[in-house]
């Protein structure tokens, strides 16, 4: 079985050996990048620069929380608000693969700029096994390009360090617990963020809608888990489907968007079963979303597909 303590003991000296100069890490605040940052920080200290980019497609309060986390971990960090740039780059883009590629490339451009200023030579990424497996490597068919891997521009000048490359999520969580990191139980969040939870063009307005809906789904499911009503899903969120349907609001015709509730159960996301959310919880989510986002959303649906045939995220 996987031994987190052994893994840490083996990895830190290896990183010390491998990284000669300064390194940069793309710090999202998720389990993978936080564990990677903690390991590299233990190996090379302040020579590691952690960079968090607010893309405008973050969850509610996320960037503020990440800032606090970087402070608490005593990382040498930089915080960059690039939301306007990302919104502009994704204007009129509807194709999911294009979205992923544009976001991945933009991330790297920003990191390259910081890398130049800080004179770093290495880029640390929290890539884990399923990321590069699903991205395909010539032999495999590409299901989705994960922005850690498939989105990397070919002419990138930085040397890549991926300390978690052979690990699965449950193993990364074990390492996080061993390192006493508060993020150890956080649900995965895709690199391209809420942009791929918006079907079609990811406008700032749509980002605002799906952000609020995701927040409600997260809060309600976490409450239900706490009350023992259901098992904690591997991932749980909302997807905005910009297809309008007819509703009725206070005796008046309404014509609003659709939100899908998605929650799946898994240990490594290679296969997933949809989560069994009790009806009372679905009911709460539905009522809250349609009330809070009254003029925007008037229909809620529940995604009941497994992986395969579907994937966890919709795009």
């Amino acid at each position: 079985m996987f031994d987190a303590e052994k893994f840490i003991k083996k990895t830190i000296p290896k990183l010390k050996e491998e990284i000669r100069g300064k390194a940069l890490i793309a710090f999202s605040g998720g389990v993978d990048s936080t564990v990677s940052a903690a390991l590299v920080n233990k190996a090379i200290g302040d020579r590691l620069v952690a960079v968090h980019v607010d893309t405008g497609y973050m969850r509610k309060d996320e960037s503020a929380n990440v800032k606090k986390l970087m402070k608490d971990m005593k990382l040498n960090f930089r915080f960059i608000d690039a939301s306007k740039e990302f919104y502009a780059a994704l204007k009129n883009v509807e194709d999911p693969e294009k979205k992923r590629k544009i976001i991945g490339e933009k991330f790297i451009r920003i990191f390259e700029k910081v890398a130049e200023q800080e004179e770093v030579e290495y880029l640390v990424q929290g890539t884990i096994a399923p990321d590069w497996i699903e991205s395909g490597d010539g032999l495999r068919d590409t299901i989705k390009s994960h922005h850690n891997v498939g989105g990397l521009p070919e002419h990138m000048k930085l040397k890549l360090i991926e300390p978690l490359r052979d690990l699965y999520k449950d193993e990364v969580r074990k390492v996080a617990r061993e390192l006493k990191l508060t993020v150890s139980e956080r649900q995965p969040f895709p690199g391209p963020g809420l942009a791929i939870r918006i079907i079609g063009e990811a406008t700032p307005e749509r980002a605002r809608i799906v952000r609020e809906a995701c927040y409600i789904v997260e809060k309600e499911i976490e409450k239900a888990v706490e009350n023992g009503l259901m098992e904690k899903p591997w991932q749980y969120f909302a997807v905005l489907i910009p297809i309008k349907t007819v509703g009725v609001h206070g005796d008046q015709r309404a014509y609003g968007n659709t939100i899908a509730i998605r929650a799946v159960q898994s240990i490594d996301a290679m296969t997933c079963a949809y989560s069994n959310i009790p009806h009372e919880v679905l009911d709460n989510i539905s009522t809250k979303i349609t009330n809070v986002l009254g003029n925007k959303v008037n229909r809620i649906v529940y995604d009941v597909t497994n992986k395969p045939p579907s994937t966890v995220e919709w795009e």
């Binding site: 399923p130 495999r140 290679m270």
Partner: protein
């Protein structure tokens, strides 16, 4: 320590096979299917897993050097999905597009008692599938071991050699008896 290599035919879950073996304390490695048999043989391995493949590779054409492995090996081999389909073609069976492809959750029915690979597995269990093609004619000298509602040849075994083919995916988390099936295969390789 038992040494079992995973031959990578490009499937989405090759890594899961590697992980399941690793978790059973097997000395294991993922090897590209272009590796010559001589190189694998030199490592004194006890068994091979032929992984699933990129779309449709089981239907026709070569799976790298899988033909050579099947010709020359004397140790147990477990073919999964495309690996299983290639195995069937190699031994003279037939592979065709499935009338009803299967994805996700399916009920597996064991037809025959099998003391090795399916030891301790109940007659009915849940397995996960992901295939567009399937074995339609069993090769000579093979026995059919399991079926599902829409696929008649879910598992097969060579009559004399420790060679098994599985259409379903025994390596993914949501298949009910992942560990038991792999434990059984490891035991077969230990012999």
């Amino acid at each position: 320590m038992v040494r079992i290599y995973v031959i990578d035919n490009g499937g989405q879950w090759t890594h899961r096979e590697w992980r399941t073996l690793r978790d059973l304390d097997v000395d294991t490695k993922i090897i590209p299917n272009t590796t010559p048999f001589q190189e694998i043989y030199r490592d004194k391995i006890d068994g091979l897993v032929l992984s699933g493949g990129a779309p449709r590779v089981g239907l026709e054409g070569n799976l790298g050097k899988c033909k050579e492995y099947l010709e020359k090996s004397f140790f147990p081999i477990l073919g999964i999905c495309a690996g299983h389909q290639f195995m069937a073609r190699f031994y003279g069976g037939k592979v065709e597009p499935s009338k009803i492809p299967e994805f996700g959750k399916v009920e597996l029915m064991l037809l025959e008692e099998d003391k090795f690979l399916f030891r301790g597995i109940p007659k009915k269990s849940i397995v996960w599938e992901s295939h567009n093609d399937e074995v339609t004619i069993l090769p000579d000298n093979f026995k059919r071991l399991a079926e599902s509602e829409n696929c008649k040849i879910q598992a097969m075994k060579h009559n004399e050699k420790p060679i098994y083919g599985l259409q379903f995916h025994p390596e993914v988390e949501h298949t009910e008896y992942v560990e038991q099936i792999f434990k059984n295969f490891v035991k077969l390789c230990e012999k």
